[in-house]
């Protein structure tokens, strides 16, 4: 009974850590540019798929992952330069459609390059499961949770202790003022997209040994990440992490105790409930609207 619960909890935290990283990716881009990047899930796809193909070329796993992450960052920066920057005065709806167009485009290219099959990334370290309180914990799950935690801490340090991190924060608070004190906001925006791609692709490659990967995994992951980010309150880093973990755990509990068919509905029912009562999410910022 308890071991069953523990099992669902482990699964939930693992997938929740992935959602949290996707949600953080949303948050960083949202803060820097007020764009919701629906192509966020494609970074996860690129992370997993490119690793598979670099390893297929005989490159050792560690370097294959680094190359894959670099590729994703490049795509992220290109996305900002070529698609978002030229449309800076567009409506919210128009920007949403641009990023959706970008995600369809990236998915289309991936389908041509990597085909429509599922691919497997080998686990980072061995296959032996760890037994804990009667539940089984996949060693790859520890990697997912561990890397997630390291990235979150690294982000906190980056945003509070480094000049570049503070420049990004400054730009997100007031773009004009940031420009006045000499921050190159254009650079900051590119950096935000690159950083967000880094988070996404790392999440994508660490979770790939558990979930498998294919050219079309991006959409649902992006939407779940968006749910997690909105649940925590758009723009809040803490909210993104809490939202992601909460979503992963509730989803896994639903699949285990109630119905696995309605697992995906949970995310969307939860976000509706949260927004009904807290229109700005759990950790949402100010409610004052400027006229």
């Amino acid at each position: 009974m308890f071991s069953e619960f523990l099992q669902f909890l482990f699964t939930g935290i693992t997938i929740g850590a992935t959602y949290a990283l996707v949600a953080l990716g949303f948050t960083i881009i949202y803060n820097a540019s007020h764009v919701i990047n629906f192509a966020q899930g494609e970074f996860l796809m690129i992370g997993g798929m490119a690793t598979v193909s670099f390893m297929g070329m005989g490159i050792p796993m560690f370097f294959a992952i680094i190359l894959a992450v670099l590729l994703a960052c490049l795509v992220g920066v290109a996305l900002q330069r070529l698609a978002i920057a030229p449309a800076k005065n567009a409506d919210v709806v128009t920007l949403i459609i641009i990023t959706i167009g970008a995600s369809i485009f990236i998915r289309g290219i991936a389908q041509v390059v990597w085909g429509k099959d599922y691919h497997v990334v080998p686990p980072f370290t061995g296959n032996e499961p760890i037994r804990l309180g009667g539940a089984v914990l996949n060693s790859q799950s520890l990697w997912v949770i561990g890397i997630g935690a390291v990235l979150v801490v690294a982000l906190i340090v980056f945003f509070t202790r480094t000049l570049i991190g503070r420049a990004i924060l400054g730009t997100s608070m007031n773009k004009l003022a940031a420009q006045l004190v000499g921050i190159k906001t254009q650079m900051v925006l590119m950096l935000a997209f690159g950083l967000s791609a880094l988070l996404g692709s790392v999440a994508g490659v660490t979770v790939a040994p558990i979930t498998f990967t294919s050219y079309d995994i991006g959409i649902l992951l992006a939407l779940k990440g968006f749910v997690a980010a909105a649940m925590g309150g758009l723009g809040s880093g803490l909210g993104a992490v809490v939202g992601g973990l909460l979503l992963g755990i509730v989803e896994s509990m639903t699949a285990g105790y109630i119905s696995s068919e309605y697992k995906d509905a949970v995310a969307f029912s939860m976000i509706l409930l949260v927004l009904f009562f807290m229109p700005r999410g759990l950790f949402g910022g100010r409610t004052v609207e400027r006229v």
Binding site: I97, I98, I104, F105, G108, A230, I271, F276
Partner: protein, 335 residues
Amino acid sequence: MLQRFIDWRMNYVLVLAIIVFVVPLLMDNPFYFDLATQILIIAATVVGLNLLVGYAGQISLGHAGFYGMGAYFSAIATTTYNWPPLLAIVVAAAVVGLIAYVVGRPILRLKGHYLSMATLAVGFIIAIILNNESELTGGPDGMSVVPLSLFGWELSTFGLYSMFGFEIPGHIAWYLVAGVLLLVAVVVAQNIIDSPIGRALRSIHGSEIAARTVGVDTTHYKSLVFVVSAIYASVMGSVFAHFTGFITPAIAGFDYSIVLITMVVLGGMASPMGVILGAVVLKLMPQFLAGFQEYETAIFGFILMATMIFMPKGFYPTAMNALRRKLGRYSGGEA
């Protein structure tokens, strides 16, 4: 005479009517009629969605949910429970309208990305239910639907009908019915836009707070237009179900919601002709891209992206502005 026509607020409806009824003279292949009828049906849906997105400035990323609900309500009522189709369409519209009202009240308080999130969630939940309740809906495999019929007179794409002394095959008859439906949809929408409701909606688009300050009951008007656009989707979804005779939950899914809102934005928000053009372009594009085979998806995404970057106002307003500049005269009216 010409000036009066140019100033007439419904002048484009006449142009549209001429286009709709001239096009069949140029086509002879049933496949084209099938495609054209689908375009007309989806165009009418998008005209309704445009009231919400284009005029009131509210985003819906889940509108296919209402379309799918209308389609499935009609399909199940007529096929499983033998209701007459017309009754099913009307009851479906009422039920969907009620659901949209109940869901819309709390959702429409949200703004911007939170609103897109919430509408997306509603659409997703509807699609998941249609997918999973397979005893009722046939699940992911879909279900077949009986043809449209009115007082025992059945309209099927395979039938043959005599009208005004002409022999009209079923696929052309369906095209004409869908064409009339689109014209009705446009006239109703234009009347809403020109009524005080339309003015209230545009004031909400401009600035919701300003609208509220001058006494516009913004909550009321937003949920009203949400319900109206959901009813449009439901009715056209029902019609689509009877037309194709077979539906799958894909018509309620997220991808389809994106298709619908893209039609609105791509063609040109807040312009009925624009969104109809958007529907035509988006529905025809896969036909032209089919020759590129495996590159189809990538090219589609690229065109979508590029159009929105370079024509953020959409095709129709951009083309109209260029045309006006060419003619060297400025007209302030909405095209």
